[in-house]
């Protein structure tokens, strides 16, 4: 892959106005697939979550999953869309073995939801309204593994293996209208938008929304137009960018790449491009051409979806608070700085912190433990922090710190033990004998022992070198196995020096 020429980002913005359009695919976490009662499950043995419908076998008949329709309506409403009184499934015909039946059931001219708007907030505080063109229901495709060749990519493969477990998993595709006026914030708008969509579907509880598993996938359309012109430039579509950071980087890269070509008098080829996380670059894929003639027609096996007004209003009444508004409210309630709050949002632990605070823990303590020790262990083990410990158990640990039974170091040990299934925090403190030694007698004994081996410390403290106490405090903490209140030890050492 040859390295593309890039123009400096600021220079590109001087010459051109970037315009983006985003397509986000959301896999719904229903129990079964969109049109079949096969389980919608990740990580099963290949080709074990299949019914004849998933394989498009002759005589099989797809039937719409009612829950997937309800989820799609809720999502449409959360995106500020109008819900269509009558929406229709359509066949999108193409030849590629990721679908056994040579077409994907999707929606074409009558999607379930249209004309919405999503408010997003950037890290710099700018608020942007992203216009939504439509959200439609469809089914996911199977997964191909390319075998042979040197790279495992399509090019050079000798044959491909197909697992249809994912074929038929319910998807909602959300398509924005062109987003203008993003200027230098354009890459950040793209990632903040995807992040907001993720927050919305998590709040609705309709998707696991894990980008690393492909539950949430983004295709980014980017085009440039010379300053002062009206006509939209030719766009490229960068496919399957699967992390928030990649979305931002891919959009930025395309702006720089296209600007360099246009400034050289070249023209942009309308094509799909692939994002490469390792090189931080996109490469050319399939050119968009007449071959994209999908010959959509209404799916004859499925009847129109016509949700009643009552159902729509019932689902509207159940919508959770919009994530952007919720974040704004919580940040104000907790009195956090931008940085502290961003820390929680970025680690995806807002709900955990919120629940912990609701139990009565100080916001700062809840933030410190979730984004600190618990997130560290989660990182180490490659799991979600929220799955490690309940807010109730964390609240019990924090209460033990507040009452002076534990210091931070011991609290970390207790949290680790709770995570490893050793039981309730207070039971662990008992069983392991972890409480702080609050008996001054035992501390003084340890201090005396430490002073005996470092006799000049008291003299130094008297000369004003208070930091010399550190050596004694360290020795005492070590002797007590960390189970002492360092502040109390320090007090006792200074008291001794002043005698």
């Amino acid at each position: 892959m040859s390295k593309a020429k890039l123009m400096d980002f600021e220079k590109a913005l001087e010459l051109f106005e970037p315009v983006i359009g985003l397509e986000v695919h959301v896999e719904l976490n229903t129990k079964t697939k969109m049109f079949s009662s096969a389980p919608n499950e990740f990580g099963s043995e290949p080709n074990t979550n299949l019914t004849p419908v998933c394989l498009g076998l002759p005589g099989s008949l797809p039937v719409v999953n009612a829950q997937a329709v309800r989820y799609s309506i809720s999502l449409g409403l959360a995106l500020g869309c109008e819900i269509s009184p009558s929406s229709v499934f359509a066949r999108k015909n193409y030849f590629y073995p990721d679908m056994a039946k040579n077409y994907q059931i999707s929606q074409y001219d009558k999607p379930i939801a249209e004309n919405g708007s999503v408010e997003i907030e950037l890290a710099n505080g700018r608020v942007v309204h992203v216009p939504i063109e439509r959200a439609h229901m469809e089914e996911d495709a199977g997964k191909l593994t390319h075998v042979g060749g040197s790279t495992g990519r399509i090019q050079g493969a000798e044959y491909s293996l197909v697992d249809y477990n994912r074929a038929g998993v319910p998807l909602v595709e959300i398509v924005t209208r062109p987003v203008f006026g993003g200027e230098a914030d354009t890459p950040a708008i793209a990632s903040a938008y995807v992040s907001t969509i993720r927050d919305i579907v998590i709040a609705l509880g309709i998707s696991d929304a894990r980008m690393d598993r492909g539950n949430l996938r983004c295709d980014a359309n980017v085009s440039l137009r010379p300053r002062g012109t009206e006509k939209l430039g030719t766009r490229t579509e960068t496919k399957n960018v699967n992390s928030l950071r990649s979305v931002e980087r891919a959009v930025r890269y395309e702006i720089q790449r296209q600007a360099a070509i246009l400034a050289d008098g070249g023209s942009i080829l309308q094509e799909t491009r692939h994002w490469h996380e390792d090189t931080g670059a996109t490469s050319a894929g399939r050119p968009k051409s007449d071959a994209d003639d999908y010959r959509y027609f209404p799916e004859p096996d499925l009847a129109p979806v016509e949700p009643s007004r009552e159902l729509i209003e019932e689902l509207r009444a159940q919508l959770p608070e919009h994530p952007t508004l919720r974040r704004r409210r919580l940040k104000a309630e907790w009195g956090f700085s931008d940085l502290e709050f961003q820390d929680i949002v970025n680690s995806g632990l807002l709900t955990e912190v919120e629940t912990t605070v609701a139990i009565g823990v100080e916001p700062q303590a809840a933030r410190k433990w979730w984004t600190g020790e618990i997130a560290r262990i989660a990182n180490e083990r490659g799991v979600d922090a929220g799955s490690l410990i309940t807010p109730a158990n964390l609240a019990k640990v924090v209460a033990l710190v507040d009452e002076g039974t534990l210091n931070d170091k011991l609290a970390r040990v207790v949290i680790g033990a709770v995570i490893d299934g050793e039981g309730e925090p207070s039971a662990i403190v008992q069983a392991r004998g972890l409480a702080i030694v609050s008996d001054d007698g035992a501390l003084i004994e340890a201090i005396d022992a430490a002073l005996a081996s470092q006799p000049d410390v008291l003299e130094k403290i008297r000369e004003g070198k208070v930091q010399a106490a550190g050596a004694v405090i360290g020795a005492v903490m070590k002797a007590m196995g960390g189970q002492a209140d360092a502040a109390r030890v320090r007090e006792l050492v200074l008291e001794r020096a002043s005698q």
């Binding site: 079964t32 979550n49 009612a66 073995p97 000798e158 293996l161 697992d163 399939r286």
Partner: protein
């Protein structure tokens, strides 16, 4: 009159991955033209006050509840495959790309 040309037929044949001889293209061009013209006549009857329909049977909201039912075994699923490997369908090297 419809604008079905021999090129239209060749394009459709390519999309459907059907190899047609020149004779077949000529023959199908005539046939397709007649079919499209006949369908166009329906448009003359369908005035704007006739609602569009996607389905010949007046049905809507045919749903099933979100409940898992029986699945095929891997062996059953692969039983019709010309070739399988590692529990998966084997297909020849793919020159095109994902859609």
């Amino acid at each position: 009159m419809s604008d079905i040309s021999a090129d239209t037929v060749r394009h459709l044949a390519h999309l459907a991955r059907i190899d047609l001889s020149d004779d077949e293209v000529a023959h199908l061009t005539d046939e397709l033209r007649v079919i499209v013209d006949n369908i166009a006549k329906v448009g003359e009857v369908a005035t704007p006050d006739v609602p569009a329909t996607s389905h010949p049977i007046p049905l809507s909201n045919v749903y099933r509840e979100d409940v898992v039912a029986d699945v095929l075994t891997q062996e059953q699923a692969l039983s019709g495959a010309p070739e399988a490997n590692d529990g998966r369908f084997t297909v020849s090297a793919i020159l095109g790309e994902e859609q």
